[in-house]
Symmetry: C2
Subunit: 149 residues, 2 copies
Amino acid sequence: MKKLDTPSVVQIGLIVRDAEKTASAYAEVFGIPKPEVVMIADDSFAKTDFRGKASTAKGKAAFFDLGPVQMELIEPIGAPSTWEEFLRMHGEGIHHIAFRTGDMGAARDFLASKGMETIQHGGWDGGQYAYVDCAKQLGTILELLHNDK
Amino acid sequence: MKKLDTPSVVQIGLIVRDAEKTASAYAEVFGIPKPEVVMIADDSFAKTDFRGKASTAKGKAAFFDLGPVQMELIEPIGAPSTWEEFLRMHGEGIHHIAFRTGDMGAARDFLASKGMETIQHGGWDGGQYAYVDCAKQLGTILELLHNDK
């Protein structure tokens, strides 16, 4: 791989202290339905790995569309995770922008060859994700998303 | 106004220390042309106002598309500005998400009625912008964009 699969950002990830409260505020300001708050990384298939070690950290999340891009609000639950680390170090704010890949291994290897290392990875029922620390090169964390089907 | 004009995010704004260097890194990772770095807020019509006072602060910026959303890299030049303040307080990272409005005054008043105050505003040859501090309610700064024509 000599570049990522696509330059199309599909999601903006925002770390918050209270997902319910922030979801209500977005719904009110933009006149959109209040999204449901769901648990993430809380199932056996999640297999969350943070900096090379298994982690039981979870999150409360709300997903909604801001036009062409999905917004994900994430309230960290437990530790360690990149979500908890970001909140502790930076406070609330935008944690990542996400891109789809057809080959998670090749995309991670490509970024690692440029000094951008995966700091957390895991999955959900239907896909896998990896957060890659590109703060030094790209000013933010990138998330790679892969759908199994 | 009882909600913003549109929930469609049109731009993600990233504060960086070196716009040239970061623009090159995005071009390389995503396989896109390296965007030109231009000066922003450097003309008489810019009329930059930061927290109620005129400011001569400027920025170096690079604009490019990540699929449906524009990415704006901003390297703060001089002070005071929300760009310089963000870099000093948070380091590099995503500073704002932007939305278009057809009525800048009404949009700013609507957000102010909810405790979200404009911290910087100004213009360019063809439009106006306002950065609204929604950190407490929405976890980030919103930018309102209005095209004059």
